[in-house]
Every structure is written in structure tokens, then in C-alpha cells.
């Protein structure tokens, strides 16, 4: 008899009825495997893990209800239509019936994903919660080369670029960026929108290589959904700050690859300029290849820029201030947003050619700074007197102005993560900057605090003392450890004294306990036996107390292990193993650090 025998005439039940393998699902839906994949991706349907794998261990199982859900989707029918239509076109082309083919191509069946998005994310917060992958993907494709003839269409890449810029513009203008991190893989950003932490990764602004070990069909299907999702999310976000979506951009800035800046300006200008004005700036928002466009349209766009600046309220800081006021009026801003908004408030930045402009154009305004860059379309020139910081990333800076500081880009990122203006000495031109630390790591939980993290913490404490002399304003829980830590650092001697006291107290306590124990054990002994032996034995125990206590500890652990159930014991052991592993990792780090220090001393 087979393993899962079902007598004839009896319905399937349990896992056999609940789950269906992928092959069977494909047969049931009567679609091809690629279409099934596409459907699953768009509908967000994933395999599930049945308790009992009836058909075998190495198969993918879908829930039958999920498959039924797919089967009832109009998208299945649409895909069939598309397939049939494609065949018609192919047939016409094969017969050299160009006319018919053109006619058919004009009437291609299309589908929309808005219904699917609403189905998968019934509320806006749901969509935000799942936005991480979407953003990462869109930013990745935005960084791919927009070359015709590749596997990815140029329009799609441009669309990705536009969407990502729109998103960044919103984040930047609402000051909801929280953390940034330059990793080898790219730059991580973490923003907080409607209470949801959204993290995404943008690749470094360098030419990405299209590899062959990637199935672009799958990726493009994902991208298709993500593009739609991000479009709707952007719409909602722009709607929430009363800005028209899709934004109409200044084509000149767009052409200069300063799209983000153009967007930011659009967003910030929006509250003033209501519906009437928008027509003035409206222009064909066409995304042609930038380089060609620049030369041809410079004059024209100069004019337009002039117009634009007339319509804009005076200059950048002014508009920003205005926006800030608006925002505070809305009073949906929490303390953190305020803090972020004011971080670079009085600073003016200038980016030189070699720094990652897009990233910094995004970050600096997000934290309240004013920024310009070297190149056309920049709001102010390098010679501007008010510039406080110039971001450079070159071995030496030939011409230096005393009024400003020349720092490396890492300084910005570190300042943002630490939420204070760090001293610039370590980040000056030509120096190797201090280590760049991830803001996503909880050092205490990890068990190892890098040296520079401690330095930053100290600086933070110092800054908070300067800025906030009254700790009563802040919540006490947050402030106390800081203070404690500061004290600990400032007068270490005191701390050590306290520790010693504690140790002594502990010793005394222990002695007392021992004596108590002695007494407790002594009484019954004396009742039945001569107490001499007991005394001696107790003394023996006291003599080798440290070794014995260790033994005792081990004994108690062993004993408790004996009485645990097997499941719990395994779990406990696994936990111990993971703990050990963590400890080992930390130890490796310590060892390396010691070695490095030792070699430095030599």
C-alpha cells in the first residue's frame, strides 16, 4: 500500500487537500510556467510549507486557496489574450502583412496593476511596510546603463530613475531621512514615513555591468509591479503634502542630471504656486538622452530657468524656511524630524565634481542644509562667500579659502548618523577618514563597541549637554544612561572606587551566606553525629571555595539540564551554541584589534 493511500471514493483531506504542487497548479490553471511565475509575482503569491509534504519532499507546494485565488483573477484571461494577440502579430509579420501587423500592434491588450496593488496592500501603511524591496529594485534599475538594444528597455530605466528621484525628493523635503550608510554594495538609506522604517540600497553611481547569470524576465516582472507600486505610493505621498503628481520638471535641470534638485525645488515651491502657475512651467516632460539635449536647449532653458526663479520665492533658504513653517503649522512633526531638519540648518555646502552628487543632493537638503554643485544649473557658484563647507574627495586641494572647510563626503554621512556636527579635523582633504560605522548595528547587543563609536557617543553626550542644559525636557530614560556614561568617562577613578566597594560588599555578603549555610547544615548533623567532622569538612569546603563554587555552578546547570524536557534541552543547547558563536566573533574582533594596536606601537 502506498504511503498516503486514499481509498477510492473518499475525498482528499488534510494536507493532501490543502496543498498542491507547482506542476499541478500550472496544469490546473492551464497556463505556461513563465505565465504562472508572472502571475505569482504580480499577485504576491508564494509557496507555503505544508506540515506533511504529501507528494514528496523536494517539491514546491502552494495552498489550494492561493491557486484558486489566481484562477479567479482576470489577469489570467488577459495574459491569454496577450498571447493570442502576439501570435496574430507574428502571423501577420510572417505573411509580410505589415499593414495588419501595425494595426494589431496599435491595439495591444494592456492591463493595469492598480487593482492588484490595492488587493495586496489594502492600506497605505501596508504598502509602506513592504516598500524596502521595491525601492532597492527601482534604485538598482535606475543605476543600470540606459542603452538601447540591451535586455532592458531604455524607457523603463528612465522611468525607474524618475520614480526614484520623486521618492527621494519627497523624503528630502519632508526631512524624514534618518540614517545613511556607505557600504561596499552601495549607499543604504533609512527613512521614516508614517511611522514605518523604510530602508533601501542605492548602488554607487557607477556603470553597472549587466550579468548573464540573471533571469531578466523574472526581475522585469518584479520591476513592473514595483514601478506601479512606487508610482501610487509617490502619488499618495505628494498628495499628502499638497503637490501635484506627476511633477512637471524644469527640463534643463533634468537634462543636467540634476533631476533630483529640480524635483526638490518643485516640491518646495509647490505650496506657494497653486494651480494657475503650474501651466507656466509646464513643458514637455520628455526624457531624451541627456547629452544631446544639453547643447541644443541651453539657451532656451536658461530663459525658462529665469522664469522659474521669478516664480519661486526669492531664493532657496527662503523657500525652505517657508516649507518648514508650513510643516510646523501642520504639527505632525515629531522631535526627531525637527532634529533632522535643523542638523545642517545654518550651513551651506558646495560639492565639487568628484563627489557622489546625487546622494549628497539628497541628504544635505533632507537635513536642512543648502547645497550647490560644480556645473551648470547650480544655484550658487564656488566663489560664494557664504559657503561653510566644501565637499571634496581628492588627494590635495590646490586653492583653499579660509572661510570654509574642505571635508570628505564621509563627514556628511557620519554627521547624519550621529545627529551632531562632528569636528572636521579627521575628515579634511587628503587624510584617511576615521572608520565609517554602520548605524544599523546595536553595538551593545552585539557585544562589541568599535572605538570610533565610543568617540562619537562621547561627542554626542557633550553636544547634548551644550544644547540641552536642562535634562528635564528630555525623557529621563533616554538621558540617564548618557549621563551615567559621561560621568563614567569623566571621573573614572570614582567609578573604579565604586566598583571596588561593590566587590567588597559582595564578598561580605557571600561570607555571610556561607556561614548561614554552615549553620543550616550544622544543626541536623549535630543532632545525629558528632559535629567535629562536620566542622572540618565545612572548613575544607571553605578552603577551596573558588574551585568549589565553579563546580557548584556546573552541578546546578547539569542538574537543571537533567530535569528539562528533551525539546527544551535541545533549545537551550542551541541557544548556548549561538551565544558561544557570538562570543567567538567578538573575540576575533578583539584579537585583531589588539594585534593591530601592537603592530602600531612597534
Amino acid at each position: 500500500m502506498p504511503k498516503h493511500y486514499r481509498p477510492p471514493g473518499k475525498k482528499k483531506e488534510g494536507n493532501a487537500a490543502k496543498y498542491i504542487t507547482r506542476t499541478k497548479a500550472v496544469h490546473y490553471l492551464q497556463v505556461s510556467l513563465p505565465t504562472f511565475r508572472k502571475l505569482c509575482i504580480l499577485k504576491g503569491i508564494f509557496p507555503r510549507e505544508p506540515k506533511k509534504k504529501v507528494e514528496g519532499n523536494h517539491k514546491t507546494y502552494y495552498h489550494t486557496k492561493d491557486i484558486a485565488f489566481l484562477a479567479h483573477d482576470p489577469l489570467v484571461e488577459k495574459f491569454r489574450d496577450i498571447r493570442a494577440h502576439k501570435r496574430k502579430v507574428k502571423k501577420a509579420l510572417a505573411r509580410k502583412n505589415r499593414e495588419l501587423a501595425d494595426r494589431l500592434l496599435n491595439r495591444q491588450p494592456t492591463y493595469k496593476l492598480d487593482r492588484l496593488i490595492l488587493e495586496r496592500y489594502p492600506t497605505f501603511v501596508d504598502a509602506l511596510r513592504d516598500l524596502d524591496d521595491c525601492l532597492t529594485m527601482v534604485h538598482l534599475f535606475a543605476a543600470l546603463p540606459a542603452v538601447g538594444g540591451e535586455r532592458i528597455q531604455v524607457e523603463q530605466i528612465h522611468n525607474c530613475r524618475r520614480l526614484s528621484h520623486e521618492w527621494q525628493a519627497y523624503i528630502s523635503q519632508t526631512h524624514s531621512l534618518r540614517k545613511t550608510f556607505i557600504s561596499v554594495k552601495g549607499i543604504y538609506y533609512q527613512a521614516e514615513v508614517e511611522g514605518q522604517k523604510i530602508t533601501w540600497l542605492t548602488p554607487h553611481a557607477l556603470q553597472q555591468v549587466l550579468t548573464d547569470d540573471v533571469d531578466f524576465n523574472v526581475m522585469l516582472t518584479f520591476l513592473e509591479f514595483y514601478e506601479a507600486l512606487l508610482g501610487f505610493v509617490n502619488f499618495k505621498l505628494y498628495h499628502s503634502i499638497n503637490v501635484k503628481y506627476p511633477p512637471l520638471l524644469d527640463p534643463r535641470l533634468e537634462a543636467l542630471a540634476a533631476e533630483l534638485y529640480a524635483l526638490c525645488r518643485y516640491v518646495s515651491a509647490a505650496p506657494e504656486r497653486q494651480l494657475g502657475d503650474s501651466q507656466a512651467i509646464s513643458s514637455s516632460e520628455n526624457e531624451q538622452s541627456e547629452d544631446k539635449k544639453v547643447d541644443a536647449q541651453t539657451d532656451e532653458s536658461d530663459l525658462r530657468l529665469a522664469q522659474l526663479q521669478h516664480q519661486l520665492p526669492a531664493n532657496e533658504p527662503g523657500t525652505l524656511m517657508h516649507l518648514v513653517e508650513d510643516a510646523t503649522g501642520a504639527d505632525d512633526e515629531d522631535n526627531e524630524t525637527k532634529e533632522c531638519k535643523n542638523l545642517f540648518k545654518k550651513l551651506k555646502f558646495f560639492l565639487s565634481r568628484e563627489v557622489p552628487r546625487e546622494s549628497l543632493l539628497f541628504i544635505i537638503p533632507a537635513f536642512g542644509g543648502v547645497v550647490s554643485w560644480e556645473g551648470d544649473g547650480s544655484p550658487f557658484k564656488e566663489s560664494d562667500e557664504d559657503i561653510t563647507h566644501q565637499i571634496v574627495d581628492r588627494p590635495t586641494q590646490s586653492h583653499m579659502l579660509l572661510s570654509r572647510e574642505y571635508v570628505q563626503p564621509q563627514w556628511i554621512y557620519d554627521c547624519v548618523n550621529a545627529r551632531i556636527i562632528l569636528p572636521t579635523e579627521a575628515y579634511l582633504v587628503g587624510r584617511v577618514p576615521p572608520p565609517h560605522l554602520s548605524p544599523f548595528v546595536d553595538n551593545e547587543a552585539e557585544g562589541y563597541v568599535p572605538e570610533y563609536a565610543e568617540t562619537i557617543k562621547r561627542l554626542q553626550v557633550a553636544a547634548s549637554k551644550q544644547v540641552l542644559p536642562m535634562p528635564g525636557l528630555e525623557s529621563g530614560d533616554l538621558d540617564d544612561p548618557h549621563n551615567l556614561l559621561a560621568e563614567g568617562i569623566i571621573d573614572r577613578a570614582e567609578a573604579s572606587e565604586a566598583a571596588e566597594k561593590k566587590r567588597k560588599l559582595a564578598m561580605l555578603e557571600k561570607q555571610y551566606h556561607d556561614e548561614l549555610n554552615m549553620e543550616l547544615q550544622g544543626i541536623p548533623y549535630s543532632a545525629s553525629l558528632s559535629s567535629k567532622n562536620l566542622q572540618s569538612s565545612v572548613e575544607d569546603v571553605q578552603e577551596d571555595a573558588p574551585a568549589d563554587s565553579e563546580q557548584m555552578e556546573k552541578d546546578t546547570r547539569d542538574l537543571s539540564m537533567v530535569s528539562m524536557s528533551r525539546k527544551k534541552r535541545r533549545l537551550y543547547e542551541a541557544m548556548q551554541i549561538s551565544k558561544e558563536r557570538k562570543k567567538a566573533n567578538v573575540n576575533i574582533l578583539r584579537e585583531r584589534k589588539n594585534k593591530a594596536q601592537a603592530s602600531k606601537k612597534e
Binding site: Y188, P435, S438, N533
Partner: protein
């Protein structure tokens, strides 16, 4: 020409309805091309043949043979050239060898035989060839039996053919094509047929098509104006206030886990301690592929040096795969303090008294002490060692009262449970000795002496049943020796002190024997065990008998003499067994260091398995009055447990590990060999392989 007709008609029709006529058009075109090609070929061939036949004789013969059949046919077809010279011979296409031996070569047109011409011999022909300068032009025609002389013209043609040119020099194969026939606007139709009627009446089918279109337009299926472009994005999510509407339908959605956030080591400029040294990187090569770290931190001096990440696309793709291919389940992430896993046990203080630390040591044996036994009153303790001695100690003082030399290593010993019969049963080698300890008052001593008296007759009796155990009087000490066939491993007394049981592990069907002291009788009630017996115990209150084999524990009812229960500990090798004084609970120790607690009323499966020792468990013991039990093992430790059995059947026994007793040292890989509780006090005696007996007190 029909082909041209077809073509023109096709062109005409095409204008009318090009879609439907496409099919038939093609074959007609093809037909035309083929036919015209054929005609050209034919005319060329006929030219060639004709010119060759101009000279009076056909140049074909055996040279061409059947390969050039086509040429023959074409030659026959083209009658114009055939008319001029008829072939002389009329035999047709028959093999010429039929006429080889005949006088004639065939028949002429009138039916007369044509005679063969006289053959020239070789010399003549040679001479003729030499003489005649035109001989090289001559060809012998076998069919007509004559010599043909080729003209200059013909030779020229042959030469041109050999070179692969056209046969006649005046023909220009590449002359521009002149289309003499003007196809368009032909005044006269090619066919003289009258114009058909259908040309003058409106097409029915066209009308039908038009009606179809009209209907489609009316219904709105065909639209002429382009559909209005709706805005791609709109406010999809209104206010999120109505909760019921905003619920996701269908199955529970399991959100994909978010990718792990980047740590310090992923930084472009990590601190030095995160960068592995070259040796460490090399050592990664030795690891298994899946253990190898995926990402090796690197340090770049400045941001401008950071290259593009080559795996960016690949990692994005992997994430996509994870999202749509990975089965998702809800896993409860356990984020608890590991200490909270430990069960809440009653505090040890409440469970006092129990043996805590070593109070006394009994030294005297010179070999590992295999077994100990405490007298019922708790005043005396007997121990048997591998050095072949049995010692009797006073418990409280540690004084050695007596020493018996048994001669062989003592395996096991047991006191008679009756206080008035201080008899010691000692198993050593093949023998079991019943020793009179000489304790107790005079009256008791007398009784014991009587009891331990063995008559010679009895040995004769035993002689009848050779297999059984023989009862012999002990020579050296006053007592009885029971001679067994195989090594005896354990001796256990029945609670009434009259019966005792011995186990011979290699005894097969006689492994378990029960002896009656008063009658000096031996019986083997249990024949079948299926596994080597390890030990046997009597039930403390009822006539039950527990035999533990290596695999399981069998419970026999001695009064009915049948198996009533089989306990399955599921252990590899059972080493010892002990019964709770209440009789309903059994503990079984095993060689793998695990102990099983059986509740006899509950099931034949263990109620609890306690993985106490890391090494072989040698013995387990229950206390007679306190709720204590202990186990000892070769890892030199003894565990003391609190084992409370409640009279309420609904309540499970409470088992709490209390203490690990250490003190023995290992010798020869063996640790503590035996443990026994004091009958009245919560004390534990342990016998070690280091030839020391220890007493642990509370």
C-alpha cells in the same frame, strides 16, 4: 499562353480582394515560371541535336547510352529536325549485341536486311588512319555500321560545349530581356470570353461584411477615436479609516522577511578589526563552501576609490527568487532568556534532608568494591570487592568488623532482609555463598546455624538434577555454597528472607533461578527471556518478580507463574533496576547514562527519561522511607534525586534532581560501582572502583 492569362487574372483579382486571393495566386505564378523554363530548355536541346544531325548521321550511340535518354526523347519530339534524315537502320533501341553474330546489322525502312560491311583489320585501319589526315574526325557509328566524318562546324560546337559555353558563338546568353508583351492597358482581353455577370452586380459577400462592420460600430465594438488616456496614477488609498473594508482577503499573508541590514563590516571604510588578515582569508578556502563567509570586508582609503559592486544585479535577482520561490511559514522566533527554559522546581531547601556531602570513608579493600549492602537495622554494612574479600563494617564508626576471604572476585552481595537472620548472600564467580555473619543474640545464632546446615543427602539430590544448583557446605566459613554452572552476577533476597534469586547472564534458559533457603531448593521458573538477563528483583509487597534483560524489563506473577507486563525503556542496554518501596514505580538505569522512571499503572513506556550521566550507569537505588533515589555511574559521580510518589493516582510523580555527589576517583575507566541508601537515614553509600566506600550524609 495560359500562364500569362492566369497571371493577369490574378493581378486583377488581387485588386478586388487581395486577402482571399493570396492563396491561389502563388501556385499559378509558380506554374508559369516552370513551364516557360521547360520550353526554353527544349528549344535549346533541339537546336543542339538538330545541328548535330545535319551532317547526315546522328552522333548518338553507345557513348551517350541510356544516360542521355532525355536527349533521345527530346530529339524524337522535335520533328522538324527528324524529317531531314531518317536513320538507315530501323531496329530501334535494342541492344546491338543481338546482331553481333548476324550477317546484317538490321533492317532498312523497306524491311530489307542491311548487311554488315566488311571489317577492316587493325593494320588496315591503322594505315588508313595514318594516310588520311582527316581520320581524327571520323567516328564509327555502330548503329548504322558506318563511319561518320564530323564537319568543322560540328567540331567547333563540340569544343565550345566542352568549354561550357553556348554551342553557337552568335548566341548572346546575357542579352537584355525585352518584354515584348505589354501587360497593362491591353486593348483587347487575352480571352475572348464575354465579361461575366458577377462583374456587374454588387458582391453579396462584400455586403455581408459591411453589415457586420456596421453592426460592430453600432454596438460599440469598433471605435474610431482613440481611447482617452487615463492618468496612470491616482489616489489609490483613500482614508484608511474603514477598517473592515481595508482588510486583506483570503489566506493569511506572511510578509517576506526583510533583508539583513548592513553591519560595520560592510562599510567601505570599516575599522581595522573588521578586516580579516591574509591568513584568515586563505583559511576560508579550506572551509566548506556553505560555511565560507559570503562577504569579505575590504577597506578603501576614500570614497572615490570604491568600485561598482559587481554582484549588485545578482543579489537583487537572488532577492527576487527568495521572494517568489521560497516557501514561507510563520516561525515563532524565540526571544527568551535561556534560563527561563529551565523548569520551575521546588527549592532544594524544601526537599531536605538528602545526602549532601561525604561524611565517612571506609578503607580496607585492595581492589574495586563491586557491591555493598546495608543490613536492615542500618548498623552494619557489607562490601564485596574484586580482591576476593567480603568485609563487614560498622556504619557509624567505619570499623571493619570481619573479613571473609571468598577466593574469587565478589560480584554482588545482599543482606537477608529479616533483621533476625543476619545472613549475607555473596556471589563470586560460579558460586553463591550464604555467610553467617555471626551477629545477633545467641538464640538467633542457633537458628541461623540450623538454617545453614546442609545435609549430605541434599547434595545427592542435587546430583540427580545435574543442571540445577548444588548446595554444599562451605568449607572455611560456616555457611552454604551454591555451586552454579556459570558466573553469577546478582543475588537478591525476597522480602520474607526465605527466597533469593540469582542471575547467570550467560545461563540461557537457566539464567534466572530462585532458591529457597529453608528447603535448600532451587527452581528455574523462567525459561524464555530472549535477551541476556541483567538483574532480577522481587516486588516489595506482591508476589511479582522483575527480571531486567538488556532490552526490557519483564514482570512475572510468581503465583500464577506467567508474564504480566513488559516495560520498554527504549534504551540501548539496561544495566540496573530498582523498585520503589510502594511497588508501583520502577527506575531503570542504562549503560548510556540515562535513567527511566516507569509508572507501572501508567504505561509500559517510561514516564520520564532522565539523561543524568555522561557515562555508563552502574546502579540505581531507591530509599526505603524517604522520597529519594540515586544513581551512580562510571563518571565518578552519584546523582541524588527527589522522587515523590503521591497516593493520588491523578498526580504524577514529582522528580527533582537534587545533588551531584563527587569524591570518588576513576580507576581503570570505572568510577562508582554501587550505591545504596541507608534503610532509615537519608544517607547514601557509594562503592567506588578506587576501593573506597563513601558515606554521604545530609
Amino acid at each position: 499562353m495560359p500562364a500569362t492569362m492566369a497571371k493577369s487574372r490574378a493581378a486583377f483579382k488581387k485588386k478586388a480582394d487581395h486577402v482571399e486571393q493570396e492563396g491561389p495566386e502563388e501556385p499559378s505564378e509558380n506554374g508559369f515560371v516552370r513551364e516557360s523554363g521547360d520550353q526554353e530548355e527544349e528549344s535549346e536541346r533541339s537546336d543542339v541535336v538538330g545541328s548535330s544531325e545535319d551532317e547526315g548521321s546522328s552522333g548518338e550511340g553507345e557513348i551517350d547510352g541510356e544516360d542521355d535518354e532525355e536527349i533521345h526523347q527530346s530529339a524524337e519530339e522535335s520533328d522538324s529536325s527528324e524529317d531531314e534524315v531518317a536513320p538507315r537502320n530501323t531496329i530501334g533501341e535494342v541492344p546491338l549485341e543481338w546482331y553481333k553474330d548476324e550477317e546484317h546489322i538490321g533492317y532498312d525502312i523497306t524491311g530489307k536486311k542491311i548487311r554488315k560491311q566488311a571489317r577492316k583489320d587493325k593494320i588496315d585501319s591503322f594505315l588508313a588512319g595514318v594516310d588520311d589526315s582527316k581520320n581524327w574526325r571520323k567516328i564509327y557509328d555502330e548503329y548504322n555500321d558506318e563511319e561518320v566524318e564530323l564537319t568543322k562546324e560540328e567540331i567547333r560546337i563540340i569544343r565550345r560545349l566542352l568549354k561550357g559555353r553556348t554551342p553557337h558563338a552568335e548566341v548572346d546568353p546575357y542579352a537584355p530581356y525585352v518584354d515584348w508583351f505589354d501587360w497593362e492597358d491591353k486593348g483587347h482581353p487575352l480571352s475572348n470570353a464575354p465579361e461575366p455577370k458577377r462583374r456587374f452586380i454588387p458582391s453579396k459577400w462584400e455586403q455581408k461584411k459591411v453589415v457586420q462592420y456596421v453592426r460592430a460600430i453600432r454596438k460599440g465594438l469598433i471605435k474610431f477615436d482613440k481611447p482617452k488616456e487615463e492618468p496612470r496614477f491616482y489616489l489609490l488609498w483613500g482614508d484608511d479609516s474603514s477598517v473592515a473594508e481595508n482588510k486583506r482577503h483570503g489566506l493569511s499573508y506572511i510578509p517576506a522577511p526583510k533583508p539583513k541590514l548592513a553591519g560595520h563590516e560592510e562599510s567601505y571604510n570599516p575599522s581595522i578589526e573588521y578586516i580579516p588578515t591574509q591568513e584568515e582569508i586563505n583559511s576560508y578556502q579550506l572551509m566548506y563552501e556553505e560555511d565560507r563567509p559570503k562577504f569579505i570586508p575590504r577597506r578603501y582609503e576614500s570614497l572615490r576609490n570604491v568600485p561598482a559592486y559587481e554582484n549588485a544585479l545578482k543579489e537583487g535577482f537572488d532577492r527576487c527568487l527568495d521572494l517568489y520561490l521560497c516557501p514561507r511559514t510563520r516561525k515563532k522566533r524565540i526571544n527568551i532568556d535561556p534560563e527561563s527554559l529551565k523548569p520551575k522546581l521546588p527549592s532544594k531547601k524544601d526537599l531536605k534532608p538528602y545526602p549532601l556531602r561525604c561524611y565517612l570513608e571506609y578503607r580496607g579493600h585492595s581492589g574495586p568494591v563491586n557491591s555493598i549492602s546495608i543490613e536492615v537495622s542500618g548498623q552494619w554494612i557489607a562490601s564485596g570487592s574484586t580482591d576476593g574479600t567480603v568485609r563487614l563494617w560498622e556504619v557509624e564508626t567505619g570499623r571493619c568488623l570481619r573479613v571473609w576471604d571468598v577466593g574469587e572476585a565478589v560480584q554482588h552481595l545482599a543482606w537477608n532482609p529479616l533483621p533476625e537472620l543476619p545472613i549475607l548472600a555473596v556471589s563470586a564467580g560460579h558460586k553463591v555463598h550464604l555467610l553467617n555473619t555471626g551477629l545477633g543474640d545467641a538464640e538467633e545464632k542457633m537458628r541461623i546455624k540450623e538454617l545453614l546446615h546442609v545435609e549430605e543427602v541434599l547434595t545427592d539430590d542435587a546430583g540427580n538434577s545435574v543442571s540445577a544448583v548444588s548446595w554444599i557446605k562451605h568449607e572455611k566459613h560456616d555457611g552454604i555454597t551454591l555451586e552454579h554452572l556459570k558466573t553469577v552476577s546478582t543475588v537478591e533476597w525476597h522480602r520474607k528472607g526465605d527466597y533469593f534469586t540469582t542471575i547467570m547472564p550467560s545461563g540461557d534458559s537457566r539464567a534466572v533461578s530462585i532458591h529457597q533457603l529453608s528447603k535448600k531448593h532451587t527452581a528455574n521458573p523462567i525459561k524464555k527471556l530472549r535477551a541476556p538477563a541483567v538483574s532480577a528483583v522481587f516486588h516489595p509487597t506482591r508476589p511479582f518478580f522483575f527480571v531486567s534483560t538488556k532490552k526490557n524489563v519483564r514482570v512475572y506473577d510468581l503465583s500464577k507463574n506467567k508474564l504480566i507486563k513488559k516495560l520498554e525503556p527504549g534504551l540501548r542496554e539496561v544495566s540496573s533496576i530498582a523498585i520503589h518501596p510502594g511497588g508501583d514505580n520502577v527506575i531503570v538505569g542504562s549503560k548510556e547514562g540515562k535513567m527511566c522512571w516507569f509508572d507501572m499503572d501508567l504505561s509500559s513506556q517510561p514516564y520520564k527519561r532522565l539523561p543524568a550521566h555522561p557515562k555508563d550507569m552502574t546502579n540505581v537505588a531507591f530509599h526505603r522511607s524517604y522520597p529519594l533515589f540515586a544513581s551512580c555511574s562510571d563518571d565518578c559521580t552519584a546523582y541524588v534525586f527527589h522522587g515523590m510518589v503521591y497516593s493520588d493516582l491523578n498526580q504524577n510523580p514529582l522528580i527533582v534532581p537534587l545533588e551531584i555527589l563527587r569524591g570518588h576517583t576513576s580507576s581503570n575507566g570505572r568510577g562508582v560501582l554501587d550505591c545504596k541508601f541507608h534503610p532509615r537515614q537519608p544517607w547514601l553509600f557509594t562503592a567506588g572502583a578506587d576501593s573506597v566506600i563513601k558515606l554521604y550524609c545530609h
